[in-house]
Structures are given as C-alpha cells and as structure tokens.
Amino acid sequence: MAGVLGTSIKRREDPALITGRGKYTDDLLVEGMAHAAIVRSPYAHARIRGIDTSAAKTYPGVVAVLTARDVAAAGIPGMVPVGWLLPDLKTPAHPMIAADTVRHVGDAVAVVVAEDRYVARDAAERVAVDYEPLDAVADVVAALEDGAPTVHDDAPGNVAFDWEIGEKDPVDAAFAQAAHTVELDLRNNRLIPHAIEPRAALASYDSSTGVMTIHMTSQNPHVHRLLMTLASLGMPEHKVRIVAPEVGGGFGSKIHHYADEAIVGLCSLKLDRPVKWTATRTETNLTDAHGRDHSTHCAMAFDGDGRITGLRVDTKAAMGAYLSTFAPAVPTYLYGTLMSGQYDIPAIHCHVTGVFTHTAPVDAYRGAGRPEATFVVERLMHLAGEATGLGPIEVRKRNFVPADAFPYQTQVALAYDSGNYGPAMDRALEMIGYDDLCREQASRRGNGNGRRQMGIGFSSYIEACGLAPSAVVGSLGAQAGQWESADVRVHPTGSVTVYTGSSSHGQGHETTFSQIVADRLGVAPEAVEVIHGDTDLVQFGMGTYGSRSAAVGGSAIAGSVDKIIEKGKKIAAHLLEAAAEDLEYEDGSFRVAGSPDRALGLGDVALQAYLAHNYPDDLEPGLSATTFYDPANFTYPFGTHVCVVEVDTETGSIELLRYTAVDDVGNVINPMIVDGQLHGGLAQGIGQALWENAVYDDSGQLVSGSLMDYALPKIHNLIQFELDRTTTPCPHNPLGVKGVGEAGAIASPPAVVNAVVDALKPFGVTHIDMPLTPEKVWRAVNAD
C-alpha cells in the first residue's frame, strides 16, 4: 500500500497496553503455580561452609528448597555459559547455583519454592548459610593491582582477556611528530539497566509430555532456549518452548542468559508443576548485567592544521564476577572498532584489558561499547577544539570523513558503507541557534563570571548496528550467527501473517513490520499480523538488540515478501496465460505489462496457490516464504547532537536548557516510533551523564542498589527534545534502514559533559567524570 512506509501510523500494540490487558510474565496466573524465592549471597566473596535448609523446608507452605547439591543430583549441566569467545579468554565456570564459593552480592545459593510468594520470601530468610567471608575487590583498577583478591583461581591477576586493535607503531610516530596533543583519564560510570519490569520467569514442566514451557522476560527467546538447554538444564531443544509475552523494556539486560531463569526451570522440572519467580527491584539490580564500567586513558595527536594524526586508547573494562552472555564482545569488537568516530584518523591503537571483579557481571546495555567509544572520541574532540584553537565545530568538520570518501575503511576494522556528516552538523547548528547562544554565553562570562554559566556541548557520533555478517562475527568469536529469520505467510484470502525472529519489548515491531509488508506487498497494514517472541511459533530468531531489528529483521521480512511476489507472478502468469517475465506487481495486483485489464489481486492468486487446481506444473502449492537474512555489513547511523546547559557554580547544579539532535538513521519506516526511540535513548544517555551510577563499596556491597540511591532520569529533570533528521539510506539492505534504538544513548553523554565543561571554561575545568553530580561540579569549580 503506497504511503504507508515513512508514515507515523499509531501503534497496534497500544490498545492492550493502555487498558491494562497486556500480559507481562508476572501477570500470568496459572493453575497450580508455585512461587520461587532465591536465596542470595549477602557477601561479595565468601566460601560456603554449609547450608541448613531444615527450617525453611518445614516452614508451612513450602514445597521445596534446592541448593547446588540438587543441581548435581539432577544430573544436568547446571552452568551459565558465555557466548562470545576471544583469543586466550579465561572462561571460569559459572554454576547456576553456587556450590562452594560466592563471587558477588546476589550470587544464588539456594531456592525456596512455596505455595505463595510471601511464604517463599519468609522461608528464604530461614535458609541458614554458613559463610566464610573472603576479601573482595569491586573496582576495575584495584582488581589489577598486585595482591588484589582473586575472583577466579583460573584467571590469575583477575585478567579475563588482553585485546588490542589497530597498529601501535604508527600511533607512536604520530604522537612523536604532533603539533598538538590532548589526553584524558576518564571513568565511564557503571550503569544498571533498570527496565521498569524486573526480570521474571514462569516455568511449566509437564512430565506427561516431557515439554517445558518457560514464559520469561526475554529479548531473544531462541538464544535463551539454546543456552538454557545446552548449558543449564540439559534438555533437548525441541522439548523446550520459550515465550516472551509482553516484555517491559530490556535495554540489553534481557538478552543475557542468567542463572535465575534456569533455576526456575530446574524447580519446575523437579516438582512437575508451574513455578514462577519475579525479581524484586533489589534482586534485579544485584543480578542483571550492568553496563559500561571502564577506566580509560586516551590521547589524540594533531598536525599543525588541526588534522588528527593518531589516537591512542587504553581501557580497563570490568567483566564482573562471571562472563555474561556477550560480555567479552562489548568492550572489544563493539568498542575498539568504533574509535574512528566520524573522523578520518590515519593511525589508531586501542588496547583493552577485561577484568574480573566481585560485582554483578557487565554486559551489553543500550549502546554496548559504542557509547563508551563515542565518549572517548567526542571528549577528546572537545579538548582538541580548545588545544588547536579551532573550536568544537571546525575541529570536527576539518576531520570528518568526506562525503565522497565512502565506502571508508577505518584503521579499526570497520568499513563505513555510507555517510554524509557535514549536513547533520549544519542542521543542528541552525536548529540550536548557535550564534545567539555564543553571544549569550559571552555576555554571562563577561558579567564577572556570574553564578549561572551557560555551556554548549557537541557530540558527532557514529554507531555500528545491525550486528553482522555471521561469518565475520563468527571469526571474531561469536558463538552465534547474526542473521535474522522471517517467515511470511499469505493466507488463502490474501491476509498475511509474519513470523519474525526479532522479539519486540517496547519497540513496536508489530506496527513497523506490518508497515514493511504493507508497503512491499500492497496490502493494508491491518491485513498483516506480526508474530514474535515464541520459539514454538517462530522457526529460529536471534532477537532484538544492537538496533538490529529493522535493518536485519526487517530486511528478512522484505526478502520473504519479494519471494512471495516472485512466486505469485508465476501463479498469476499461469492463470492469466502470460509469461511470468511479463508480469508486474503493484498495489496488491499482479498485472500483465501493457494490458492493465489483465490483472489478479493478491487474494485471488493466494486462493489459487492453496487450491492448486489450476496451477503451474513445476510449482509447489501454498504462498509463503522464509528468509534467513544475513547482512553484508553493519549499518552506520550517525548524527550531531548539541546540548545546552546552565550551571549554578555556587552549588554545582546543572539545568538542561536545550537538547537538539540531528540523526541519520537511513530510511525511516515510522517517524513517530523513530523519534520515540531517540527520546528514550537520549534520556538514558543524559541519565548516565548527570545522575546514574552503580556504586560498590570496597567490600563489594552495591550501595546504589535501590531507587533511593540510583537516580534514574525523572520527568521533572528532563526537557522536550528538538529532533530532526538527514537521510542517507543504507546502501546494502533492501530497506535502506540503519537502526535507531541506541543512537540517543550513544551520542548524548559526551554532548552533556562537553556542555558542562564548556560552561566551566572560565574556571579552568577540562573534565569531570560522569555522573556530573552537583558536588563533583562544585569541587571542580573550586579546585585549585
């Protein structure tokens, strides 16, 4: 249907969600359901001397209490695996229930199953664990120091991996000859994803069929099934069904396979009845994979014209107590490869040490590696604007990869397929009214460095999304493919059902995917149903993360639609007694070229495909197609963001005044949804810059484990965003789309920090680590 692509049609997901009818995992109430409560370590590091479950077992209403012994007795693998391997990666065992040692606060040591969730919690408190507390280390730098407590005996010095990309010698040479250099020591703060729906699972094993069904908070049910069956429960894959019902946000945290969901599965397996577990906020914050947590030294060299000649980055990246599903990939292939940013940098070297700490694991969180890389590059570019005297705009423009240089091969593996960076920046400058802002800033500075200073910060970012292609990611260590599947079925009456391997958890796939089909197949969006998130319904899928659903999942759907049209042409040609080559497909009709009256609608052709009475000899009946789309490359969204802040130099408080974002995410399927994704990403990135911080104390206790201490962005602290787009279609996928889920979170942290540092320029401030709490700002203003 013409005009449906690129249109802000309202979401079909919403009627259920605005009336309270949408069913999230914890909403599922099943006959005979018991409730699990997991007993967790209160220590960051301890030896388990013994566990006394007798008081819990005899507590009224308790069905069972399981420990590591029961995992062993069940004869299942009982492990939580890592899904991305690097050369020489240390992969210490991660048992789903700790047997002899706990390695972070929240590590599971037992599980109580009871008839009621209140009773399960009561009994969990009656499981007596005899711990021998051991020294712990929670800080990524401290963990590498001599004599630091060891997280795993088989990872000496707490080093999980030592990885590098780029060439070191050319970088050293660039620095030796540089006209200007800038350098920075920074911490990229640890974040807790905080999907507002905590993780949950409802496992229902039926011994009469041998089938286990697990409804759970998943971004990728097939990946969860694979890891759950292979490494944890040891069940055959075809006997396990994983369903993601409504999922209340993920942001990466619901990609990973965790111990808890496997434990719930074990409980159901053992008890032969449904068992539900829903994390409390505290539990989910202690056990969800966190994000970021880097300590980085970085430096950039420039020639006399302000052109970048070299970039050097050395990062210590926390892995936490165990390697989470994709953890090793995040600070390496999703980080080091992004170091060229939007710039033509002739020499780059990035070295990363992965570090075990006695904390929750660290893995992909919205942006995953790319926000950290963008922060390095864009903070250095801000400093470079000062050091070269070119200012923040000219220093960037001078170094942008020119529009005629694409495809552009960076020094860090990625080859950018397309880009046009200047117009996005120009549009952002126009929208923000840069010249007026500069006058306002000068007037405030001229006014005796008054109490309320204004700052303007830029971030010109690039991201690589739509993780691909499979062969490449496989060569880099991925233990999974990076394609996506789509099964498109045209029903005999011409309506359509799409089965996609993408797994929406707030993104609105049902709406946008129906738009893709409607546009390509010439049917109304309402004639298209989109099914996702169920391993029994969808053949296989990689799921939703890394801003990949439109570019990879959407392209798979487009591929299937194209196959259906090709097959339909053969059927229509037979019925119209024409040659298939002479048929055109337009607006839902197969037409003989040049003879507009000789046409058949999709429904007519579909019906014949299923009747197969009057049918081509060499064609199978039916009208459906499956596509496994494996992209040729990543996609490369980009843009320029500008943030304007006011800083109260007396208290250090920051007020957001303006935020303008000009993004290029390629072709847009639904502008309303694209803008919504950007808004959400911006809030999370601004949250990282200003408020969010996962803090462990020296003993490994999570000090900011609840919303009393972990400050999420709240409505009264944010502003309306000003957005616009440029459009540079992706040249290598059929839709020309790139991806938008993470752009806001990638671009915004340096824009905010650069703005604050710009505001404080009269005070000689050049850097403040995130989050920019008022106290840190105040201390920076008053530093000698």
Binding site: G248, H505, L682, H716, L718
Partner: protein, 155 residues
C-alpha cells in the same frame, strides 16, 4: 489472622478475607486478576502501581489491602467507560506516550489525577505532577504531549 475487607473496585463491590500483610497491589493483581497495576520497585518511587483510591492517585504497593477497606478503587481496567477509551488512554496512543507499556497504567492514572486537580496544566506542571512515575522508555517527551492532548480534549 485475616482481615475482612469490603471495597468497590472499578464500580463493582468486592468482599475478601486477606492476610494483614497483603499489599493492595497484590490483592488487585493476584486475588482479583487486575494485573494492570504493575510493580517496578519496592521503595515507593517508580509509580507503576499507581491506582486511584477514592479519586486520589496512590501507590498500591505502599498500601495494605486492609487499608482499602471501604474505599472506592479505580484501576486502569476501569478507566475506559462503555468501551470508549478515556481521553488520556487515547492521548497516550495518539502521541506515542508509551513503548513497553509497563509504566503506562500508573502513568495514565497519575495523569488522570493531575488533570482532575488542574485541567489545563503547563508543561512544567505536567512534569511536576508526574514526578512520582518513572518511565525508562520514552524519555517522557511524548508523555507530556499525551497529557496535553488529553487535557485539550477534556476541556
């Protein structure tokens, strides 16, 4: 022990025996099957469990079911009337004021209370009025738009 309670939920009388410690949100979700009110935290900060008790927005995770004895409770399930969406439900749909939808029932009921108090709020008053509800998806931009849309339609 149990406590005997009688209340009105979405216009219908309800009678039940509850444990004193049973939180109102669990009573609504598990005993009455009204799963629209969600739980996102345990520190009375996220607001996902917001409902109306005697017309006032409250956090049902910070209220015992026993305290609701005699009250008139409205949950998201009771907001649409005669099959017609409330202007706020319409506004959230129209303006893309939700993504994952988990915070949405609470957000809509808080907004409903806000508009009862202040039928034509400014952007700032909307932001102040909804500060007890956390959304992780939308960045709040379209929530503000949705409430303004509803306010206009309701005036």
């Amino acid at each position: 022990m149990t406590v005997s309670i009688q209340l009105e939920v979405n216009g219908k009388p309800v009678q039940a025996e509850v444990e004193p410690r049973r939180l109102l949100v669990h009573f609504l979700r598990e005993d009455l099957g009204l799963t629209g009110a969600n739980i996102g935290c345990e520190t009375s900060l996220c607001g996902a469990c917001t409902i109306l008790v005697d017309g006032n927005a409250v956090k049902s995770c910070t209220m015992l079911a026993a305290q609701a004895d005699g009250a008139a409770v409205t949950t998201i399930e009771g907001l649409a009337r005669n099959g017609e969406l409330h202007p706020l439900q319409d506004g959230f749909w129209e303006k893309h004021g939700l993504q994952c939808g988990y915070c949405t029932p609470g957000m809509i009921l808080s907004a409903n209370y806000l508009l009862e108090q202040n039928p034509s709020p400014s952007d700032e008053e909307i932001r102040e009025g909804l500060k007890g509800n956390i959304c992780r998806c939308t960045g709040y931009h379209n929530i503000v738009e949705a409430v303004k849309y509803a306010a206009e339609r309701m005036s």
